[in-house]
């Protein structure tokens, strides 16, 4: 039987479906009886989905410009 500490360590594997079927069953059983772990796993789930929905971290204009300048400088050396 899993305890709350185990759940805290494996919550991402649970929500990402990376646990074996047996471990997943044990997880389900624990969540069935433990409201605190249900809250914890729900928060991990919300956190993951929130972070995914935020979208990509965009580079600043200066960072993009630096790359484009290097590419322009490289052009004469092509071929």
């Amino acid at each position: 039987m899993l305890n709350c500490r185990d759940v805290a360590h494996e919550a991402s594997d649970y929500i990402d479906h990376n646990l074996s079927w047996w471990r997943r069953l044990m997880f389900h059983l624990h969540l069935f009886i433990c409201v605190k772990c249900r809250r914890f796993v729900s928060h991990v789930h919300i956190t993951r989905d929130f972070l995914r929905q935020r979208g990509p971290l965009k580079a600043s204009d200066a960072e993009v410009q630096q790359v484009m300048t290097n590419i322009d400088n490289d052009k004469p050396h092509q071929d």
Partner: protein, 206 residues
């Protein structure tokens, strides 16, 4: 906000169209830097990424689309970083995850010594959906800051998996680490960010 990489025309990229390439750089420069940092460390990462972008641009006409453009670029920067690592004869150690005490949810103090039940349970959240969290601008800044100070390998894994949605197997290839290690790093990164949300829900501050 959705990923707009798909909206960049791959034919224009193959023709080395500047505007299309700029859009690609804007979307993927930060993940590229995070990959380089995780492999070679801070001091050489920026230089490696610049070389990777130049190399990618030169090779765009030969990009066949067998993998996604993201995976192709992450592989280029990963190979540049690994090759530079060999040239410099440097070693970058794996992060010692057993000594990382910054994940409060995994600390022994959170649990009863016998039985492993919560001693300090997770708090209730009044904002309890991704959509509600997305509306909090100050929280977004807190999250950006925390992502920027994650340890390099944790940051790279988090960005590759949760932001860029690369498969675990791809991430293992890009960073040359095992899948179990990737999963541990990802969980730790998420919990650190979850702690930021906990604090924000309680105080309205980072």
């Amino acid at each position: 906000m959705t990923d707009s990489i798909d909206s960049i025309d791959q034919d224009r990229l193959r023709q080395q169209d500047h505007k299309a390439f700029e859009a690609l750089v804007s979307q993927l420069h930060i993940p590229m830097v995070s990959v380089a940092r995780a492999i070679i460390g801070d001091s050489l990462a920026e230089e490696v990424v610049q070389e990777a972008w130049v190399s990618a641009y030169r090779n765009l006409p030969r990009f066949e689309g067998r993998s996604s453009i993201k995976t192709w670029l992450f592989t280029i920067v990963s190979n540049e970083a690994k090759s530079r690592l060999r040239k410099e004869k440097r070693m970058v150690a794996l992060e010692d995850i057993t000594q990382d005490g910054s994940v409060d949810y995994l600390s022994a103090d959170r649990f009863q010594r016998f039985g492993g039940h919560w001693k300090v349970p997770p708090p209730d959240w009044h904002l309890d959906s991704p959509d509600q969290l997305l509306e909090e601008r100050h929280l977004q800044k807190c999250i950006d800051h925390t992502v920027s100070i994650l340890p390099p390998q944790q940051r790279a894994v988090f960005i590759l998996r949760d932001i860029e949605q690369q498969a675990l197997a791809e991430i293992c290839n890009i960073l040359e680490v095992t899948e179990s290690y990737v999963r541990v790093l990802l969980h730790r990164a998420r919990l650190k960010l979850m702690q930021v949300i906990d604090r924000y829900q309680e105080t309205g501050e980072c």
